[in-house]
Amino acid sequence: MSNRTPGRLARLACFALLPAALAACGADPITGGGATYTRMEVIVNSISNTLTLVSADSIAPTARSVSLGAQGSPVSVAARGAYAVVPMGTYPFAAVVDLRAGTVRNVALPANSGATGAAFLNDSIAIVGNPNRNSVTPVNVRAGTAGAEIAVGTYPQALAAGNGNVYVLNANLVNFSPAGPGSVTVIGSNGTVAGSIVLTGINPASGVVVGNTLVAVNSGHFGQGDGTVSLVNLVTAKEDQLIAGFGEFPGSVDVGPDGLIYVGVYSKGIVSYNVSTGQFVRGPSNPVVPGGAPPVSAVAFDYAGRLHTLAPGDCTPGTPGKEYGLPAPFTATERVVNTGVCPFAIAFATVPLS
């Protein structure tokens, strides 16, 4: 009896600790290629001025918060390796966050930058948009320095990385209203302008590069429900297709492992579109709405093909937003994480631990 009791207690303890153990397993560092790293989801909370860092692999993840400072209105983020870059909006700085230490270093951008939109050109250089100055600024995340401004199109408000380049989405806003179709400025791997692409979509707000295609979501005119998606051939530098029907102010986009385009429409939810068939799988009248109610402020797929989406709620004080994780077929929620107030953007990083 005395010999059996410890064994039973041990089994009970193991059973009781199983969920935590599983969660811990999910958050365990991953070893590969001789390096140890962890996969991290980086969420920008626009009203709190914080980042929520979530382990990407766990269904019961741990989250921690990193303060970005007293000023600013961040709405975008880019992450790569050990660093995340957060353009601070009305505060003309880019916050460079060391994702391992949770420390923040602000890099000064040109005065009145309006800092919005960021993408990594390589492991060291992130390109940050200065929409108020129609330019972008290269930021060296390792040195914490900013390079010379690079002139781009009118009102660059989003950037996407792919094929060694950075694609700057110029919204062509004048006095905060679309003055015409947007455009794309290509920043080559050497950090200079390598070309530009004319769009027919209005107010491009987010983009993702898949192979040789840039998928850009165009928010359109506010209140007119004319959101579209542009498919841009990066080889021919031409917009191949403009897909209409994305409704009122779509704001984020990603491409799923199933090849569908997933678009977050603020006031509706997540709509999906099949380019092959030219049909909506879930249209604006039948969107996926994690948590049961919009708004949806961001969508992104992680390395394992899970869909992550942000629900900012009403952005009022004391009301945390939520991050939902949805496994394929991306209709049901697998996990929910509380964020800061008004989460607005997601990025993923594979963070080396040593």
Partner: protein
């Protein structure tokens, strides 16, 4: 800085070598009435003299008198009137307080009778700053004056920018600021910019914390600031100042007796060139030059005081004007943003105080034009908005003393009406141009015997009709107070409300702003306040202690917030509010030393779904403190102050906290006698240790500022 430093040394040397014994500054007051001991009728034209000083006064038709600017200490007061026996009475005047002396003169000669008077404020939470204190403090604006009251946090954006008041953690639009009875609060924003009221225009400021709607009307939700503009005085005065940031100012006033009263008039000019070096940001040590922070300000006033129909009549009028740059954030300056303001005001107040009945009538009017413009803002669209406001208010009230004992001892009531015409470019076409507001109020005082102790009871009620929504609002204030020797305790329960400002309701729609048709007034349904006061002389020290605790949740605080699409809109959100104030004052008359301390803790936290989130509302310091020490040996006067602004959050979350900080001030002055003239030479230093922290992140402060003052005045006869 070399210039001010050399001037400072010269002035200090001049003060030191020219020292001669003389009384220092006079911060207290003595007020009271003189009546006929036989008939209880007021005695007019009785002379009030303070033995050993040139200070004197005469009673008005109601028998009232007031002596201002008295140094704390013991005095002997002589009261004379032909046909009556003169009386000589000892009086104790306490710092910053009004001592009360009611004297009955007998028509036949009587032996002198000693009387000790202890100052007692009418409201235990009230703080009053007199003209003499304002002048002695070197305050530049009414904001500098109000900042000296405990429980008050003044929020500013740089040395010349707008400055608003927060009381007990409130928003600026939850504090009613009355200038001679007329609201100073901007009808578009609801906020009062006390930085635009020159201190030269101010006679007296009283700060009353707590829900005061039942007495003062809408918006007095967290407190009320009563600004009284310059009164008529038989006095001549002039002042010249120069200091850091290219500041210089001049002031002059004249006044004389006018029958039973007095008149006075004056003008003031102030200019600040601005411009100082600062680090662009906490994250960017690049030193840049602050630009567009200049200020030009001028003001003029006139006042007449006399006796009409057996009562005291006061007429006041004035004009304040300023032109200043709005330099914006340190990292994103706005080099061309400007504010131009001109405000004219006139008021009439008549008050007749009888033995049992007091009647008061007041009317005031103001016209104001404010223009904000920026042809090239750093972000957003160019703007050029002008607001023109014309306001008229009238108030009648009466009080009747029923008896000294019994449940009901006094009653009173009155009515107040106001009209306001607003033309504002920032408002939509649907905004009402003219509004009529009305309020009726009543109050009663009494007492009951409880456990052998007299418990004083008070009740106030007020009904207000909002001129925009045409809804009626009821407010109340109930209080009970009892004395236990030198300890006085009070319990009060009050309610209050703040209507949305015109800007909340009728702003001009644009990109990123959305109206909220469901916006409601803010309400404090029930605020409880428990307070205690203790005052005594302990050995060589006069000790005064006061503490209060309050709780009063705000239902539907109006806050502008963005939604998920970053469209801003006013919303009603519930807030839990509780805290405590404490004040202590210790005076050592023999050493001419007085030390004060005040501390306020205010937890103002968001409530969601009925639960307190514990998240402090943005930019509301959880703690604030003010400590002063004043030493006035002979003709010298030195005052040091340390101010603490506590931890605050810049966002509606428990993140990115800004740590608390201290700032220090020092004022040294010396008084001279030049025949019948008094002269004061003074040095004021703000941010003594070159502190550059600011309450609101992003607005740079210049650090240490020095100013030299030369003040001349002649006042042989103090008018009541």
């Amino acid at each position: 800085m070399a210039g001010p430093r050399i001037l400072f040394l010269l002035l200090l040397g001049m003060m030191w070598f020219g020292a001669s014994p003389l009384l220092a500054q006079f911060p207290g007051e003595l007020a009271g009435t003189v009546t006929d001991a036989a008939t209880r009728a007021p005695v007019e034209a009785a002379s009030i003299d303070l033995a050993g000083t040139p200070v004197a006064a005469r009673t008005d038709a109601s028998g009232a008198f007031r002596l201002r600017g008295l140094e704390p200490g013991e005095y002997r007061v002589t009261v004379r009137r032909a046909g009556y026996a003169a009386r000589e009475l000892p009086v104790t005047v306490r710092n910053g307080a009004t001592a009360r002396l009611d004297v009955a003169l007998h028509p036949v000669p009587l032996a002198l009778q000693a009387l000790r008077v202890t100052a007692a404020a009418a409201d235990p939470a009230a703080t009053t700053v007199s003209r003499e204190q304002i002048e002695a403090s070197g305050a530049r604006t009414a904001a500098d004056v109000v900042e000296r009251a405990g429980g008050v946090v003044v929020r500013g954006t740089g040395p010349t920018g707008p400055r608003t008041v927060s009381i007990r953690g409130s928003a600026a639009d939850e504090v009613l600021v009355l200038v001679d009875g007329a609201p100073l609060n901007d009808p578009v924003t609801g906020e009062a910019d006390l930085g635009a009221v020159p201190a030269a225009s101010v006679e007296r400021v009283t700060v009353l914390p707590g829900a005061r709607t039942a007495r003062y009307g809408p918006r007095a939700q967290a407190g009320v600031v009563l600004v009284e503009t310059r009164a008529a005085r038989a006095r001549q005065a002039a002042e010249l100042s120069a200091g850091s940031l290219g500041e210089w100012s001049g002031r002059g006033e004249v006044g004389a007796a006018l029958g039973p009263g007095a008149w006075s008039a004056g003008a003031h000019l102030r200019r600040i060139g601005g411009g100082f070096d600062y680090a662009r940001d906490v994250s960017d040590p690049t030193v840049v030059r602050r630009a567009n922070d200049d200020l030009d300000e001028w003001s003029a006033f006139g006042a007449v005081q006399s006796t009409v129909a057996g009562g005291e009549l006061r007429l006041r009028g004035g004009w304040d004007a300023l032109d200043r740059g709005l330099p914006g954030l340190g990292h994103t300056p706005s080099p061309r943003a400007r504010e131009e303001m001109g405000r004219g005001r006139a008021s009439l107040a008549w008050r007749r105080a009888g033995a049992r009945t007091t009647v008061a009538v007041a009317a005031s009017g103001a016209a104001q034009r404010v223009r904000f413009s920026d042809p090239a803002p750093p972000f957003g669209l160019p703007y050029d908005d002008t607001t023109r406001v014309r306001t008229g208010t009238a108030r009648v009230d009466a009080d009747r003393l029923l008896g000294e004992t019994g449940l009901l001892r006094s009653v009173g009531g009155g009515a107040e009406a106001g009209v306001q015409r607003v033309e504002a470019g920032a408002l939509s076409s649907t905004a009402p141009r003219t509004r009529w507001d009305f309020g009726a109020f009543g109050h009663a005082g009494g007492g009951v015997a409880l456990g052998g102790r007299d418990v004083a009871l008070g009740a106030e009620a007020r009904a207000d009709r909002d001129g925009v929504t045409r809804d009626w609002f009821l407010s109340r204030a109930l209080s009970a107070a009892a004395a236990f020797g030198p300890l006085r305790v009070q319990l009060a329960n009050r309610s209050s409300f703040t209507p949305p400002s015109l800007g909340d309701q009728f702003f001009r729609e644009g990109v990123g702003v959305v109206p909220n048709p469901d916006l409601r007034p803010e309400r404090v349904p029930s605020e409880w306040e428990a307070s205690a006061q203790y005052g005594a002389t302990l050995g060589p020290a006069d000790v005064s202690l006061a503490a209060s605790a309050f709780t009063g949740d705000v239902k539907g605080m109006i806050v502008w917030l963005p939604d998920f699409a970053f469209r801003w809109s006013p919303r009603n959100l519930d807030v839990a509010r509780r805290g405590a104030d404490a004040r202590a004052e210790i005076g050592l008359p023999a050493a001419r030393l007085r030390v004060t301390g005040a501390w306020t803790a205010a937890r103002v936290t968001w409530v969601r779904d009925g639960e307190d989130t514990g998240i402090q509302v943005a930019y509301r310091p959880e703690h604030a403190g003010l400590f002063t020490a004043r030493w006035s040996p002979g003709a010298w006067r030195a005052e040091a102050a340390a101010r603490y602004t506590g931890l605050r959050y810049p966002v509606p979350d428990r993140a990115n906290a800004l740590p608390g900080f201290w700032s220090a001030e020092l004022a040294v002055s010396r008084e001279w006698r030049l025949g019948r003239w008094h002269a004061v030479t003074a040095v004021d230093v703000d941010r003594l240790f070159d502190e550059t922290q600011s309450l609101i992140a992003g607005y740079p402060e210049p650090g240490r500022r020095i100013r030299f003052d030369l003040r001349l005045s002649r006042a042989d006869l103090h008018q009541p």
